[in-house]
């Protein structure tokens, strides 16, 4: 026994302590509990891996029977293989850094204990998700991280936009979860079990489906779930709004860990996907489309967190592209490097926002390079990493993906390259606007405390060197290594695209400031279209939400207004109320009437039992 359960249990204990007693505890103890529990969990992961290496097969621990009913037998099982080991290290490691950062970032906020309790609860569910050995437990973790995400997005619950964003995330994710739940049902119907090893070994001998069959249906439904959680087209709309939450939350949940749960789930189900090439194509196409769409929107945004949010969506698209073309290990590799540099970008952005006392608009920044040098230096590391400059981490993982895409279909490679250029452009644009030129704001920037820049420094090192972790080779026992040798030309082209993006940004925002605005105004309609995020939110409003409101005004209006329940009872529940009122009329309070009912019931029952035979 390696006591895998301790890994999620430690943050859970932290949640319980802070959640129950946090209100009365001093901040130092809250910090110690919150950070300490994650630290212990991280150390325990190392301890377990130390004991289990080389971990070439799945290691399973069974604790108890969870649900046993007829043919359905679901145990409490946690399992670990190299895939989950990678995820565990990322979740606990990056999670630990973000926890430390948050102790500095959140130090002036109300509800300090509540924040850390939620954060620890999130860690618990995320680790459960990663360690689960069957779809149902994974689903529990999946729902749990979603719950924490809504709670944390709406953390500033007095801010109206924050609660709206929380609701949006909730509703959009319901669509995804519905798909996921259906997929689980189908898996159970098809295989009679929900255990990963059993399902996958049962799928092994099946022939790959050339046309749409049950496996394709399962995989597509799983993808619906993944698209909701990992913010893919068309369900990505909630993630940019989720930036209403505190910045450490954006870094931890909406960049490094939770949003990659969809990628993890699809990668975990690779045995199913390999039998459904049609679904693989859909995954690749959705990934590609998301990558391009989000990257272009990222070029035009002025809120620094929104830029990075669209960047996250775009990078997640890359990961799905990798999965769709069969390069599962490349996808996970990108999950890891992305966790490093995107967490760094967000935390750095948080540090900037912290320095400027809440300012998030790039137009009111500039020249901060000298005022907050540590933040600048660390962010610069993330910058070169995401832009794909060799030999930093983003270069390695992106390269793996693009090569695999080329192997699958060259046109995908070319779109990927263009997107890489756009990515480099928008990140550079944000960096130039923020740190170069003249300061355009009116706050007095100050450097952040060590609890904040310490984690930044660690993440900076990881962002620079994370490419040499050799994740694909490490994952070889789980996923076969991608075919195709390294083609130097293809690599050079994608690097060139990245450098072009940086250069273009330099030209537009440093060399010829003002040129960008005139281009934007010349492009007019097109710019507006992109700036307004292709009007997708408006489109959803026009095609889905407004008709729904018009169609059932009583239901929805009250639904939002009176808080879910009152309204529904009044609207759709009119009939229910009518029935209820009738039932209530029976309740006259008169005992003689009651007695009559008893006898009437007796007569009816006796007739029933006699009449049926």
């Amino acid at each position: 026994m390696h006591h895998l359960w301790l890994i999620p249990a430690l943050p859970l204990a932290g949640f319980l302590v802070n959640g129950l007693f946090g209100r009365r505890l001093p901040k130092a103890i809250i910090n110690a509990v919150a950070v300490g529990s994650v630290l212990l969990s991280f150390l325990w992961v190392l301890q377990v891996l130390n004991g289990l290496m080389p971990l070439e097969t799945l290691y399973v621990e069974r604790y108890a029977t969870w649900i046993a009913s007829g043919s359905l037998d679901i145990p409490y099982e946690l399992a670990i293989d190299r895939l989950s080991a990678v995820m565990l290290l990322v979740v606990t490691g990056v999670g630990l850094l973000i926890h430390i950062y948050a102790t500095g970032y959140m130090s002036h906020e109300d509800g300090y204990y509540r924040f850390f309790a939620y954060l620890n609860l999130f860690m618990f569910f995320m680790l459960t998700l990663v360690l689960a050995n069957n779809y149902l437990l994974l689903f529990v973790g999946w729902e749990g991280v979603g719950l924490c995400s809504y709670l944390l997005i709406g953390f500033y619950y007095l801010k109206n936009s924050a609660t709206t964003a929380g609701n949006k995330a909730f509703i959009v994710n319901r669509i995804g979860d519905f798909g996921f739940a259906l997929a689980i049902f189908l898996i159970f119907i098809q295989f009679g079990t929900l255990d990963f090893p059993a399902v996958f070994s049962a799928a092994q001998p099946l022939p790959a489906e050339s046309t749409a069959g049950i496996l394709t249906a399962i995989c597509l439904l799983l993808m619906v779930g993944a698209a909701g959680k990992s913010a893919q087209v068309p369900l990505y709309v909630w993630l940019p709004d989720a930036m209403e939450g505190p910045t450490p939350v954006s870094a931890l949940i909406h960049a490094a860990t939770m949003v990659t749960a969809g990628v993890y789930m699809v990668a975990r189900s690779s045995a199913l996907y390999l039998k459904a090439p049609l679904a693989m194509d859909v995954v690749a196409l959705i990934g590609l489309l998301t990558a391009v769409l989000a990257a272009t929107i990222g070029m035009t945004q002025f809120d620094i967190k929104k830029v990075f949010a669209y960047s996250t969506v775009s990078q997640l698209g890359y990961m799905f592209l990798a999965l769709g073309v069969g390069a599962f290990s490349a996808g996970i590799f990108h999950v890891v490097t992305h966790a490093f540099f995107k967490a760094l970008l967000f935390l750095g952005a948080g540090s900037v926002i912290h320095a400027l006392e809440g300012e998030q608009d790039l137009r009111h920044m500039g020249g901060l390079r000298k005022k907050i040098p540590i933040t600048f230096l660390t962010l610069a590391c993330a910058w070169v990493a995401i832009a794909g400059v060799p030999p930093f981490s983003g270069f390695h993982s992106k390269d793996e993906i693009l090569l695999a895409a080329h192997h699958h279909a060259p046109w995908m490679y070319w779109i990927g390259v263009v997107t890489a250029g756009i990515t480099a452009f928008y990140v550079s644009r944000a960096m130039f606007l923020c740190f170069f030129g003249k300061y355009r704001g009116h706050h007095h920037p100050h450097e952040s405390p060590v609890s904040m820049w310490g984690p930044l420094a660690v993440l900076a090192l990881l962002s620079l060197g994370g490419g040499y972790t050799h994740i694909p080779q490490f994952l070889a026992p789980v996923f076969p290594l991608a075919e195709g040798a390294h083609d130097f030309t293809l690599v050079a082209i994608s690097v060139a695209a990245g450098l072009t993006g940086i250069g273009l940004a330099w030209f537009l925002y440093i060399a010829k400031p003002g040129l960008a605005d005139s281009i934007a105004s010349n492009l007019g309609g097109l710019y507006k279209l992109v700036y307004n995020k292709y009007f997708v939110d408006e489109l959803y409003f026009a095609t889905i939400i407004n008709p729904a409101i018009a169609g059932s005004r009583t239901v929805l209006w009250k639904f939002l207004d009176a808080g879910l329940i009152d309204g529904t009872v009044n609207g759709a529940g009119h009939m229910a109320q009518w029935v209820g009122a009738k039932c209530r009329r029976l309740q006259s309070g008169n005992i003689r009437t009651y007695a009559t009912w008893v006898v009437l019931g007796a007569v009816l029952l006796i007739f029933t039992i006699g009449g049926v035979r």
Partner: protein, 488 residues
Amino acid sequence: METSFLPTAAEYLRLLPETILIVSGTILMILEGLAGPRNRKNLSPLAIAAILAAMAATVAAAGNPGPAFNNMILADGFGAFFRMVVLSAGLLAVLCSSSYLTREKADSGEYYALLLYSMTGQCLLSTANELIMVFIGLEISSIATYILAGYLRDDARNNESALKYFLLGSFATAFLLYGVAWIYGITGSTNLEEIRRTLLNPESGASPLLTGVAAALMFIGFAFKISAVPFQVWAPDVYQGAPAPVSAFMSAGPKAAAFAVMLRVYLTAFPSIGDGWQTMIWLTALGTMIVGNFAALTQSNLKRILAYSSIAHAGYVLVAVTAYSDTGTAAAMFYLAAYAFMNIGAFAVVSHFSRTGEKYVELNDLAGLAQKQPTTAALFSLFLFSLIGVPLTGGFFGKFYIFKAAIDSGLIGLTVLGLLSSAVAAFYYLRIIVVMYFHEPGDTMDTITSPAPGIQIALWTSALATLLLGVFPSFVLDYATTSAVLVR
């Protein structure tokens, strides 16, 4: 059998839980006279100790299962399961009661004595193997509960509640007794196993029609106790009027015991009338779920909401009874255990919140509880979520097993209708949560104090049990599954 009627030691052991309850109840009453008014408050620990001892005795008796006293009772695993449910319900009720009685200035030993007697009746029901024992157990349980419902003598609502419960209850018991008499007339026996043998023997000449009618008559008596439609009319009035801890107990203990005896009687004695019985329960289950859930929608009084909800939950259990299978029986057992904890938990909150004279029992009085007492509100929400059937609570697995058993028995229609009606139920539970969390606190919050220690223990115990049943259901379910076979 004729040789010796002297019971053996094992037989006394099998009756030990009841013996402990009776003796301690009587001692409590004597002590009350000796203690004087000031020490009356200190009687509840004795009652708790008695219940814990009875629990221990139940465990001991379960280690040596078998019949006792000429087959009058059968202390098997099934009986032990329900004894534990009843005793747990009683324990939680006692924990809630002590501060309640102090608050209402009604501390006395008789209250606990009656509670213990009532539990004695229910324990006897759980193990009764003989229709005469069924009747006696039911009467002990009922008489004690009638009085408890009207315990606060100066309270008009209490009096009305007790009188209604008493009159209608006696009426329903008369049906039961009539049914027992018919069965005796048909089979010449009151022992469940003998009845089964006679009815299954084609040469006995027992008319299936007469048997069916007798079974239906007996069902009326049980249906009244579990508040199944159309015998539920008493429940809202009585639950509303009775002291809150008593309502809590009534909704869990007697109900579980009545289900226990119903399952045992019908599964053991009447396998011959399967179809007619199933149709009858089918209709009752459906009606109970619908009436309970829909009528609760229009209520504004918390105790009434919980009363209707308890009707609806009886309907869910009836679905499991309709399944008429081992898994159905096990599901019903699991559900009743889970229900006891979550429902008493919810009633404990109401009991705490209502304050002296049960002034605050309206839904809107709860407005803003989450701001004033976040822990209480969170625990209440947990119980409500469990009553809805949200995953990771005992209520979820209860519903899951019940509807799974129903589907396995081919009751697709009933399952669909049941799930729909439980979706309706989510509305009135969530409405309570919405009021607690999203409404501004009113002046009802001015006099709120933190819960008394007894209530706190009851709340946390129920919450823990609800969560444990939701996270590790198999421990209880496995036991239920193995003992469900015993009554077949």
